[in-house]
Structure formats: C-alpha cells, structure tokens
Symmetry: C2
Amino acid sequence: MAGPPSPATEATVDPRVARSRAAVLRAAAALLIEQGAGGVTIEGIAERSGVAKTTIYRHWKSRSQLVFDAFESMLPSMPPQDYGPTLRGQLCGILNQLSRGLTQSEWAPAVPPLIDAGDRDPELRQLVQAFLVVRMERCREALRAAMVRGELRPDLDVDVAVGVLAGPVFYRRLVSREPLSEAFVAEVVDQFLRSGAP
Amino acid sequence: MAGPPSPATEATVDPRVARSRAAVLRAAAALLIEQGAGGVTIEGIAERSGVAKTTIYRHWKSRSQLVFDAFESMLPSMPPQDYGPTLRGQLCGILNQLSRGLTQSEWAPAVPPLIDAGDRDPELRQLVQAFLVVRMERCREALRAAMVRGELRPDLDVDVAVGVLAGPVFYRRLVSREPLSEAFVAEVVDQFLRSGAP
DNA sequence: GGAGAACGCTACGATACCGTAGCGTATCGT
DNA sequence: ACGATACGCTACGGTATCGTAGCGTTCTCC
C-alpha cells in the first residue's frame, strides 16, 4: 500500500508554508508597487501580510533574497493572445499590450523601481532582463515571420527593430511622460513599416 | 562715497557659505551617482563633504529640498555644438551625444534613480522633465528646420518623431541593456529618414 | 490522537538616520 | 581691530529597520 491520496514523488508542501509564502510575496509586491524599492521592508511586509517577522526570516535568509522572490512572483501573467494575421495588426497589438502594461496594469508603478534596482543589483538585472526579453520575444517572432513572408527587408536587424518599436513606448512612459495612446502606437508602427518595406 | 571695492547692488555671498553649499551639493551628487536615490542621506553627505550636519541644516530646510538642489546642480553642462548641415548628421550627432551621456558621462549612473524618483515626487518629476526637454529641443529644432526645407513629410508629428528617435536609445540603456554603438544610432536615424521622406 | 513542524507574539541589542541644541572657534566684512 | 556670521563638534531624543531568541499555541500529517 503506497501512499494513496497523499503526495507521491514530489515534496508535498505544508499548506501553512504555502500560505505564508504567498501572503508575504503578495505583500512585498504590493509595497513595491505602492512605495517603490525603498518601501519594501521586512517589518512592513510583516505588518501588511499578517505573517510574523520571525516566520519571514524562517523562509528567507536575507531581505535581498525576499525582494528578489517578490519581484519574480509578480512577473509572470502574460496571457497568450492572437494578434491577427497581418504584421501591422500584430505589432500594434503587442505594443498596445505593452503600453497598457506600462501605464495601467497593477505592476505599472513598479517598473521604474525595477529598472533602477536592476542597474545596481546584477541578480535583479538578470531577472528583469529575462522578463522583458520574454515579452519582446513575441515581437521578434512576428518580425521574423514577416521577413520569411517577404514583407520586410531581408537584411533587417531584428534587435534594432525591436528597439525602434518598443523604445518609443518606454520613452513616453519613463522619460517624456506624454500620453500613450493607441494612435501613438499606430504611428510608431506605421513609420516602422514604411521604413522596413522590402 | 558709495562702497567702492565691495559689492554693489546684488547680495555678495559670504565665501564660507558658497564653499559649504558647493561641497554639500558635490557630495550629494556623488552619493546619488554611486548609491542611487536611497544612498543620499544627510549624514552621508556630511561625512563625505566634510561639512557638519548642523551646517547643512542651516542651509536647507529639509532633506528633500537638498536632494532637489543636488539633482539640479548636476543637470546643466551641455556644450552647444555644431552638428553640421545635413539632417542625418544632426540627428546622428544629437543621438550619439545622448547615448554617450546616458552610458559614459559621470552622471550616467544617476539616470535610473532620477527616473524612479521622478515617478513619485512631482517636484523632481518636473525638474527631470525640464532637463530632458531641453536636451531634446535640439532634436525638435533640427526636425522643424528639415521640414521647412522640405526634407521631411510636412505632416510629420514632431513629438512622435522625437520619441521614435530618442526612444530606442533610452530603450537600450534602461531596458534591454544592449550596447549603444554609433552603428545602432545610425541605423535608427536611417530607418527614421527612410520612413519620413516627403 | 499524538509527535513534530510551523506559526505568532514579545522582547532584544545593534544600526542608521532624522532634525535640533548648545557652545566654542574660525573667518569674513568693514 | 572688532562685531557679526558661519562653522565644527558633541550630544541628544526619536524613529525605523535589521536580524535573533525564547516560548507558548496551532495546525498537519500519518
């Protein structure tokens, strides 16, 4: 009689542990969003999450470890999506999703702190990097597919293209703080397409 | 007999005051650059500048005031420059200067903290804004002049164009962290010109 | 239902800052 | 030279975190 209902091969997690971890990460992410990188303190997390400071230290060696995990926990969540058959539609869809994510999503306020923190902490840098690369991978795929179809110049540098497309969106969000409308995105995409014709 | 050698109409500043102020601002800027926004503390500035904490408080009401002044003190310094007669040369020159400023200048490390801080503090936001707007004004001028000369489509939106040009540079510096070469800048400019032809 | 793990609470000592006060000294302006 | 001013030093009281320890309680898992 092997263990029937209970676990199996993998380690089963004590629900108390899972609950504590989740609550802590949620609180840490919320603090990051609301108060920036400087606002993420163990004591603040403890108060907000209802998890005792002692327990937090039982799970994480140091604050930086916790902050790292908190960042990581808020990164996933990108629904796969169908952007339609045309390159223009795909690029507009991706960039609009990006611009909404940067301005209206729950984690939008965390973007500047993440960029700042990433500039100083190598581990974090890598994490943020990976997050963004994944997001922009969609863009790359669309561009490569279009090149195969002959809709773009065959000598187009995909990395440059991604920068040309996503750059203006980030620029408005982080630097000029001008409004990020769909019209702006469409204009950026159209300019790109005009310059990238084969 | 009016005061002959001494001042005159304007307030003459006690050299001791000038010296303290300068030392404090220099130290504050250095701390900002080295340790980010969180590293700028009064005690740190006092230690580093050799100016007593008491004296600092004699000059600045609050820390945020001081931080503001420190930011401001490091912003100026943009040598006027001749970028040549062609639009392409002008845009490449401006963007190359921007990219060097973002990656190699002494204040380059302060950029992410400034962007982060600007997202939370309205006063700072305005300051950083102004700083960047001034820098990009060169770009606007060049674009408008080219439009007058008929080298660009007359319906070109200058604000969008600035975003399309500067965006990719900021993107590489802040987001993707890919190298910022002159070749990249040239590619961005060329793509823009190709799409902006009249 | 019982052993053991996880948890919450309280309390510490240690730092790092804040912003202020008092007092003696050095420097400036005239 | 001398009064005014700016400065440095030391010392506070106060707040916010850190990271740890002890101890009793509650929940899990078998």
